[in-house]
Subunit: 229 residues, 6 copies
Amino acid sequence: MAGLVVRNVARADRNVVDRFAEFGVATVHEAQGRTGALASYISPVFPGGHVAGSAVTVSVPPADNWMIHVAVEQCREGDVLVVAPTAPSDAGYFGELLATALQTRGVRGLVIDAGCRDVAELRRMGFPVWSKCVSPFGTVKETLGDVNVGVVCAGQHVEPGDVVVADDDGVVVVPRLNAPRLLEACRAREEKETTSRRRYATGELSLDVQDMRGRLERAGLRYVDADGS
Amino acid sequence: MAGLVVRNVARADRNVVDRFAEFGVATVHEAQGRTGALASYISPVFPGGHVAGSAVTVSVPPADNWMIHVAVEQCREGDVLVVAPTAPSDAGYFGELLATALQTRGVRGLVIDAGCRDVAELRRMGFPVWSKCVSPFGTVKETLGDVNVGVVCAGQHVEPGDVVVADDDGVVVVPRLNAPRLLEACRAREEKETTSRRRYATGELSLDVQDMRGRLERAGLRYVDADGS
Amino acid sequence: MAGLVVRNVARADRNVVDRFAEFGVATVHEAQGRTGALASYISPVFPGGHVAGSAVTVSVPPADNWMIHVAVEQCREGDVLVVAPTAPSDAGYFGELLATALQTRGVRGLVIDAGCRDVAELRRMGFPVWSKCVSPFGTVKETLGDVNVGVVCAGQHVEPGDVVVADDDGVVVVPRLNAPRLLEACRAREEKETTSRRRYATGELSLDVQDMRGRLERAGLRYVDADGS
Amino acid sequence: MAGLVVRNVARADRNVVDRFAEFGVATVHEAQGRTGALASYISPVFPGGHVAGSAVTVSVPPADNWMIHVAVEQCREGDVLVVAPTAPSDAGYFGELLATALQTRGVRGLVIDAGCRDVAELRRMGFPVWSKCVSPFGTVKETLGDVNVGVVCAGQHVEPGDVVVADDDGVVVVPRLNAPRLLEACRAREEKETTSRRRYATGELSLDVQDMRGRLERAGLRYVDADGS
Amino acid sequence: MAGLVVRNVARADRNVVDRFAEFGVATVHEAQGRTGALASYISPVFPGGHVAGSAVTVSVPPADNWMIHVAVEQCREGDVLVVAPTAPSDAGYFGELLATALQTRGVRGLVIDAGCRDVAELRRMGFPVWSKCVSPFGTVKETLGDVNVGVVCAGQHVEPGDVVVADDDGVVVVPRLNAPRLLEACRAREEKETTSRRRYATGELSLDVQDMRGRLERAGLRYVDADGS
Amino acid sequence: MAGLVVRNVARADRNVVDRFAEFGVATVHEAQGRTGALASYISPVFPGGHVAGSAVTVSVPPADNWMIHVAVEQCREGDVLVVAPTAPSDAGYFGELLATALQTRGVRGLVIDAGCRDVAELRRMGFPVWSKCVSPFGTVKETLGDVNVGVVCAGQHVEPGDVVVADDDGVVVVPRLNAPRLLEACRAREEKETTSRRRYATGELSLDVQDMRGRLERAGLRYVDADGS
């Protein structure tokens, strides 16, 4: 029943999408009520990438990358490709050639719950990839999957057109319709953190800055001295 | 029954602690009779850090970092914070704000048997962290733990005030009272290794430098040629 | 029954071996019909290494590196040491001293299905290692193993004298007698990829470059528009 | 933003739901085009259970089972409780007391992407549980989650009211609206398998029963004799 | 520095130890303030065992069971042997012969953070083992460890003479001096659970039995109907 | 290049093969100098099976079971099917229908470094399977592999015709030509163990039965009393 390609999915407004790249993944995750983060085993294949884009989703069979080739055609400038196998796989689905094709179309990065390869070339090209592993194992092109349907990628449900933000901490997904409102929450959180950072840097304690002492005491926290005094 | 903060724990002499940073983790581990190393899944979130410090220990509930905030106040210059969850967790307990607070107090690094986040900022700040994983998942502040009690961190028992040494190979713990004597053993081992290194660099074999041939022969080692001769 | 050292094993022609370093591991794996790759958990301890060499194989007991010392003597310029424990181990079998000995003999790198240590020094020396993990845990020297017998390393059978190619993607093994013929296949594959890359960079799609559309349609691929039109 | 309980969600027709228990999980997964199966690390805590029911979903914080208590009230006869933590946890969220409460209400089983405990009692009670692990670690009751919202459980998206089928092979989820049609597909598949089984039992080969020889030959399969003849 | 055997360690009173077998591991863990449980990867090699005993601890090198033989002599009736490798190992340290020796001495079971083997015979003998895995891999007898020193076993610190309780849920450790007082706490918890169980069985909800509704409401829990009403 | 089926491979003498079923996997592994055991993650899907047979080997692509169908035809009475994917897979390659086909031909069991399903039926049929996991995920039939070539299965090299022994401890492989000689070694080991068992059952210690005390003392073992005396 697989084999569906959905064209022209709705994306969030490009101005909104682009501004998410000003925020770290941890900030977006917190601002969203601690939701949307992909599993911690997803990590960048080289450090320093930080992108925000609209999800083009791909559901692929284990060890078969045929549908990624199909998905390239559905990608536009500002997109991030999100690939999820239907069963766990550590095969190397993606390498330099596909990266060249995506980069040419203005795609900003790849998130894949499986393996990628050609990582030295990807670093040279500056095409950022977040993956489960690096693996030289090649894939076949035999079985269909789907493009731009809802997928579960590394424990997170992703719909096509959702906003994907990725940096050295990992990846977070923002539902498309929540994106504008969430931008505000990110900004608010960042401002609050800037204030906290300044105060901590002068030696103030979070116990005081965030006024935790009373609640800790009520919860039963007790202090003793090591010498028993 | 959790909720205990022990203040003013004894630390090893600062002169002793500081000199441990001259030795690699592997050297300290060997000099200590192959004991004290944390599990190999603990690794630096960025390469190049090398610190020695006195352990301030924190026992935390899974996915709850409240007690880390409490622990900051107990830290002094020259300390290393050691955080152990009571059940496995890959949440991101620690980020840039807590690092700012610790760095301001002269804390040298963090060792955590769980996740950390804001790793790009940590690298920029030069605040070294050894963790189980990098994870954007945030934590709550709801349940008490303990500060400066004995903990098990990544398979190793750590008492507050123990000396913690960490580098790109991982982390090793030295019981506080053994620290002065162990420094000597580290120095002796390093000297021996310097000699070995020099001899190996000229082409001598460890089989000869360490005089292994006799014992190997007695154990039954036998040589044959590939062509059967 | 362990305790065998086979001397003077046949290696592939050095000219052949050396030219494999022009190809990435993924290319060699593909050219070899998608065989020969070690498991994806084997990764470089620092990025940027790329070597080809003749395998000197070592079968070692868990957490015992005695036989690596024995193996050093059997290594020649152009070799790569391949170490496989008889049961899983994450101990740190290998460090800077053994690396010094191997580098002095012209050995090009180490592949080990276990742990290594002294990784900061290895990076400084430029001696590349592909391993399962980094671990400060030391090993003993008590039990014999074998040198230059067939081993299984990270899921792959390796015979002494096989050609080992390693880069940032991992490690691939080429049976010695296949090596000359495989060089040609690698070259052919690379040429084809160069052509593809150039076409993708101009915006052509792999769907067209590799003529996939007909086969996809016959497999049942269907396109719909997001608005249902 | 968590803290939502949705009451009176739609369920599939009870007659339809009940008949799914006649089919194995593997059959349902195949009939559904190889979709819907939870990850293979989900397994029964004791063998022999086989249930079908309507999903009541619970999104829980790591190591916090407060919302399971909330969810009990939303359960009806014929339901299966599906619990998914927002970050990985191996805590023991569920034991004999909650099982008593659920069994009393006619709930047929529990599926949880985390740990459960009291497994000897669960076996005695005959209350089947499919979980990630067995764990004595207790949980807290401090932080809200959600009941009857869409969740990702062990890699699979589950909506409240979906049909959940579980047996010794694992767990599969059927979207509520597909359930009636899928029952037919399961029945058709089972009939076909009955025929195949009978033919295999008489010594016929699947190569012939499923007529694979021609396609294998076209794919390039070749036979040789071990003695080279 | 290893190689120490401590004889005649203090055990808890046998009457106290024996009565712990009336309580499940989860109950003991809860009564102890949610502490003392070994990691969830420790599981019984066959179901149905339930023991309490005094810990005789063994620190062993990876894949070397020599010290278990040494430890047998230190075991008395009512003990449980607790074995912890100094580095991770999945070797099969323990089988039927050692079980025969221990059973003859009245030892009640084995807890090992590594592998065991001969599991069919262990089941037949009724000698319960809690282990990390089952593994046919044999061990050597070459390197010393320690008997009856503090060890870390599956994430938990264990001192010789501590009380160990194990059942199908896993293993929990009770510090020797806390044992008498903890017995009371276990009994109290069990009584409370008996009451709860009875009430749940009549259809009462834990929301009411444990009076959670007020706190849930204050935390922000909100109910909506699926049809939006 | 895959797609090879080798027919009529040599098997060990049936009398020899059959007698291996008298020995446990651990015994065979020890008698063979602690070699030949498959990784400990391979376990029986139901307990109590114990078989010995001749290996028919199958190399399969990830998540593709086409070649198992091809392999059935190459199986004879007394064989054990050994299936190894070319890259890691947890798909359910094997179920009741294939088991029916194999059982009809007198095949004694399956060893697979991947998943199997229909485990309730397999238990009912009494067809024993040793696998990496149980998984409902189905496979495709699209890509060729090989039958009766050398494979690496769960870390162990297996040639067609090798003797495979499997029981509740796992699986061990005996090279075909070594089989007759190894039978003697197994018998000798079993006799020695029978003697030891008898002596241990009377309270003798392995320290004395195996005469370890002298060697332990020379290695530096020292005894102290807990009270320091």
